[in-house]
C-alpha cells in the first residue's frame, strides 16, 4: 500500500505540501509515484514563476504517460530540486524525501482547503 506522512497537507491531484514558515515545500505522493511507475522525466517550473493555486506547474513522466502537476498553494517559486533533472527515479525511491519545488506562499490560508494524511488516504482508497 502507498504510504503517507503525518503532518503534511495533501491535494486531490496527489501533491504533498510541507510547510516551513511561509514556504510550501511541494512534492508528489507515494500513491502518485506508484500509479505512474518508473519515472523518466520531471518537468519542473522555474525559479520566480508565479503560480496560482490549482495551476499546472510541470509534470512527471513515465515511459508510457505524462501526468500534470498542479500547484497546491498560490505563490512564487523560490527553489527547484535540480537533483531530479538527472535522477527523476528518486521520486520512485522515496516520494516524500524528494521534493520538487519550494513556493513562497502568497496566501497561507489556502492550506486549509487541503487534506490531512487521513483524509488523503481515504480519498486514495476510493480511487
Amino acid at each position: 500500500m502507498a504510504k503517507t506522512v503525518e503532518g503534511l497537507y495533501y491535494s486531490e491531484s496527489h501533491e504533498w505540501v510541507k510547510v516551513e514558515g511561509n514556504v510550501a515545500i511541494v512534492g508528489i505522493t507515494d500513491f502518485a509515484q506508484h500509479a505512474m511507475g518508473d519515472l523518466s522525466y520531471v518537468d519542473m517550473p522555474e525559479v520566480d514563476d508565479e503560480l496560482e493555486k490549482g495551476e499546472e506547474f510541470g509534470a512527471v513522466e513515465s515511459v508510457k504517460a505524462a501526468s500534470d502537476l498542479f500547484c497546491p498553494v498560490s505563490g512564487t517559486v523560490v527553489e527547484i530540486n535540480e537533483e531530479l533533472e538527472d535522477a527523476p527515479e528518486l521520486l520512485n525511491v522515496d516520494a516524500f524525501a524528494n521534493w520538487i519545488m519550494k513556493v513562497e506562499m502568497s496566501d497561507p490560508s489556502e492550506l486549509e482547503s487541503l487534506m490531512d494524511a487521513a483524509a488523503y488516504e481515504a480519498m486514495c482508497a476510493n480511487e
Partner: protein
Amino acid sequence: MEETLLKTCLHDRHVVLGALMSPFAGFDMPIQYTNITEEHNAVRHKAGMFDVSHMGEIFVSGPDADKFVNHVFSNNIEGMEDGKILYGMMLYPNGTTVDDLLVYKEFVPDRYLLVVNASNIAKDYEWLCAQAEGYDVKVVNASDDWGQIALQGPEAEKYAVETLGLDEAAALGFYTYYETEYPGVAEPRMIVSRTGYTGEDGFEIYASHEAILKIWDTLLEAGVVPCGLGCRDTLRFEAGLPLYGHELSDEITPLEAGLGMFAKVKDKADFIGRDALVAQKEAGLARKSVGIELQDKAIPRAGYPVEVNGVQVGVVTTGYRSISTDRSVCVALVDKAYTELGTQVEIRIRKKVFPGIVTKRRFYETNYKK
C-alpha cells in the same frame, strides 16, 4: 469500469502474473507485467512474448479471391507464392486508411488470411463484405476462434525450435510462414510466421485457444519474458513501424505516412484508393510523417504541436524517451516544407517549446532475419 471488456484466451494468465491491465481496442489487455523498460530490453536482447490474441483473423476464399484481395489491398499480391506474407493497407476511395494489415497467401489455392488490428476488426469485416459484392468470394471473420502469441527477440528462434519443437521455424525467411499442428488439442491447426512488430527477429504463432494456452505456459516455464502492450508500443515505435490511429488513420494516406512502398500505384492498375494516391502524388504531398529528435530530455507525446517560429506546422503522432537509445524522439505529421532531414523545428510540451531536428522515422537499427 462501465463498459464490458472482451478477454483473450490468456486473460487469466495475465491476472495470475499480476499484470497491470488496461482497456485496449475493447479488450482488457496487459500493459506491463513488471515494468516497460525491463520487458522492452528482454525483447531487444533475449526473448519476450506477447499475447496478441486480440488481433483479427479474417479469411478470404473463393474463385475470385486473388482478384478481390488485390482490389482491396494496396500492396501487390500478383505472383505471390504460397506461404508468403505481405504488409499493406486497405484504403478508402479517397486514399486514407481503413487499416494496415498482413496478407498471408495460404497453401491452398484461392485462399488468404488477413491479419488486422484489433481496434478495426468489425470495421474491416464490414468493409470487406461491402466491397465483396460482385466477387465470388467468402469472407469469414474467424477472430474469435484464434489466439496469437508473438515470440520476439534474438533468442526467439532458439525457443521456437528447442522449447516448442517448431523445427521448420528456423528455416523460415522474413515474412514467410508454414503450417503445422499442435499435438493433443481438439483444434490443432497452427500458423507460424517469421513476422513481428518489434524490430527484432521473431515469430507470430496463431493457434486455437487451447493450443495457445499450452504454448504460453511452455514458453513461460522456459524463461521467455511475458511482455505487455506498453513495450510493444515502445519497440514498434523505435523500429519505425506505424500504429493505426497514430501514424495511419482514416484521415491519413500511406503516402503521407511515408509508407508509399506498400501502396503499389505503379505496379497495379487498380485497387481501392489508387486514383486518390496518384492524384496526391501529382499534386504533391501537403504533409508527411517524419522523425524528430529533441536535444532536451522532455518527452514529446502524441497530440503535442510541432511549431516553427511559434506557428504550428504539425502534430506528434507517437513519442517517447526511447528506451534503446535514451533520446527523446517522436514521429510527427508535419507540413511538407519542414520535412527535410535536419530541419529545425520546435515541439510544444505543456508551457514550453523545445528545439528538435527532423530525422528518419526509424530510431533503432532493426535486426530482422533476411
